[in-house]
């Protein structure tokens, strides 16, 4: 199997998700099933095909470097679970000592 239980645990850790042991087992099975389904694409010869980053053709549009009004600090902080008058507050990231 290409995806191991350890891989799933690693991906969960990166995504900051925690799962029951049984869930990890079932995700491992699911992910492998999905990957083996998609695996079918590898049967195609793509030697002369350019990698596709986007499913639709087109190119970027630009914006001129002209400033537009920003939100107020109150508005910006409105949805924050924790804040003071001007900052977002988050659980301590680094211990300064």
């Amino acid at each position: 199997m290409p995806v191991s239980k350890k891989d799933v645990e690693h991906i969960a850790e990166l995504a900051k998700l925690s799962f029951e042991e049984s869930e990890i087992e079932s995700f491992t099975g699911d992910l492998n099933e999905i990957l083996s389904y998609v695996e079918k694409l590898n049967e195609l010869n793509t030697d002369n095909v350019e990698p596709l980053s986007y499913p639709i053709p087109g190119q970027n549009v630009f914006r001129d470097d002209i400033s537009t009004p920003s939100a107020s600090t109150q508005e910006a902080l409105k949805n924050a679970p924790d804040k003071d008058e001007s900052f977002f507050k988050v659980p301590k990231v680094i211990n300064m000592d």
Partner: protein
């Protein structure tokens, strides 16, 4: 460095671009605004918003690519770099991965042994900056999102540097170029220019690379050189003692002058890059590149060459005067007023840079304007004042910001070139110093200098020194008869 070994160094330099607005939204990039005021739903990472790319940021990246001999990719692609950190509200940074704007360039740096070395640039890509976390609180971390989304270019070098000096010169050159292009202010202390280094060491002659470490947090040019030398020595000692370098990230501590491993069990770099679905590929057409290249200013190297040919300056002078664009501009403004190019160079490299460095002002804001310095030099050259008096006028110009001729008039410093005035001063001195005159006439010509000094004192330094010399000699010789 132990002479058996050589270091292999590559640098990643981040330069904050001097655009008005952020990379993907119209919020201001202004530094120093109150926290969380330059923010909007896009840079706050609210759901459902879409980034729109700032054209100027792409132009700046292309300018840098052109100035460093890069290939400009017609098509480049933005990618998501995924990681969680509170100052990155989206949970990913929009950057570029396998298709950056610029690739495969180089710059040439001058080394202290007089040689020139070509150093490769792997790539230059565009990305957005993160916000700022404030860690010094007791219970929580505070986050300011103002800087989040400010455009950066990351300039990645080849591992071509073999010593801390080469790395220092490379970084200085990058700073000089971004400043010449006016795309970044190049201030390492304020963080608008940042540098991370990858370092390994190996025995000379070895072609395989050793295990590398990464050093971060070197926030001044001096620290970069110190940190690199520290880490090179540490790795060599470790290997000499039979140990092995382990791949890790180190933080430079400028207070203790050591680099220590970053703490915390960060997941090994696993950014899971993938193409940014919210932004289509960026097309930089040949026509656009041509248009941008027309805005390419004269670069440091070319300007230095021109200073030696056009103003006939020694390489040493040209090197210093073109070290920054502002200084070179200042010099050229002076050179428009006076044709005495070498004196202009001497004044700037001496008196002016001394004050600029002591007061930590920028040459742009210097109180003596280039025109005024040019006029001062002209006043010396047309014999209105002596060089010595000019040195007295200079501090007044500095303090009062007035034109030199105004100060000369106000302080009554105009040089006495009128020979009758000089003659009468000389007569007075000769009458007052009969012993010295006697000594001179008996062959002790050394006292001549003393007498000149007395005359200059009598005229408060305003007499034309050459006229004093000539007339004094004449008068003394006349006494022999």
């Amino acid at each position: 460095m132990n002479s058996k070994y050589e270091a292999v160094i590559g640098l990643e330099v981040h330069a904050q671009l001097l655009t008005e607005t952020k990379l993907f939204c119209g919020c201001s990039t202004k530094f120093g605004n109150p926290p969380n005021t330059n923010v909007c739903p896009i840079c706050l990472g609210h759901p459902g918003v879409l980034p729109v790319l700032n054209k100027k940021a792409v132009e700046y990246a292309v300018l840098m690519g052109l100035a460093t001999n890069c290939r400009i990719n017609e098509k480049s692609v933005f990618a998501r770099k995924n990681y969680f950190y509170p100052d990155l509200p989206k949970g990913y940074q929009i950057s570029q991965y396998d298709l950056p704007v610029c690739e495969a360039g180089h710059i040439d740096v001058d080394l202290s042994d007089g040689s020139t070395k070509r150093l490769g640039i792997t790539r230059i890509h565009l990305e957005e900056d993160a916000g700022k976390s404030i860690h010094d609180q007791a219970f929580e971390t505070l986050v300011d999102v103002n800087r989040c989304g400010v455009p950066l270019i990351e300039i990645v070098s080849e591992p071509d540097m073999r010593s801390a000096e080469e790395a220092y010169q490379y970084l200085s050159k990058i700073k000089q170029i971004v400043q010449y292009l006016s795309i970044c202010d190049g201030n390492m202390e304020e963080g608008s220019l940042r540098c991370d280094a990858n370092i390994s060491v190996r025995l000379k002659g070895e072609t395989k690379l050793g295990t590398k470490t990464e050093i971060k947090n070197m926030n001044s040019f001096k620290n970069v050189e110190k940190a690199l030398n520290y880490e090179i020595e540490r790795q060599i000692e470790l290997i000499e003692d039979g140990g092995k370098v382990i791949q890790e990230t180190l933080l430079w501590n400028a207070d203790l002058n050591i680099a220590s491993p970053m703490r915390g069990k960060e997941e090994a770099h696993d950014y899971r890059y993938f193409p940014e679905p919210d932004l289509m590929p960026v097309i930089v057409s040949n026509d656009w590149v041509k248009e941008i290249s027309e805005n390419l200013p004269e670069l440091p190297e070319a300007r230095k060459q021109r200073f030696t040919s056009e103003y006939k300056l020694p390489t040493y002078d040209a090197d210093i005067l073109t070290s920054s664009r502002d200084l070179a501009d200042y010099y050229e403004e002076v050179a428009k007023v006076t044709a005495d190019y070498k004196s202009a160079s001497n004044w700037i490299m001496g008196d002016i840079l001394k004050v600029v460095n002591e007061t930590k002002t920028s040459i742009k804001d210097f109180s003596i304007k280039p025109v005024q310095l040019g006029k001062l030099i002209n006043l010396i050259n047309n014999n209105t004042i002596s060089g010595k008096i000019a040195k007295d006028v200079f501090p007044f110009m500095l303090k009062e910001g007035k034109d030199p001729e105004v100060i000369v008039k106000e302080k009554n410093l105009v040089q006495i070139t009128d020979s009758s005035a000089i003659e009468s001063a000389i007569q007075k001195i000769l009458n007052n110093n009969p012993n010295e005159v006697e000594q001179y006439l008996s062959g002790k010509e050394k006292v001549f200098g003393f007498l000149v000094g007395q005359v200059m004192r009598e005229t408060k330094g305003k007499a034309n020194p050459k006229a004093v010399n000539d007339i004094l000699k004449e008068s003394l010789e006349a006494k022999r008869k």
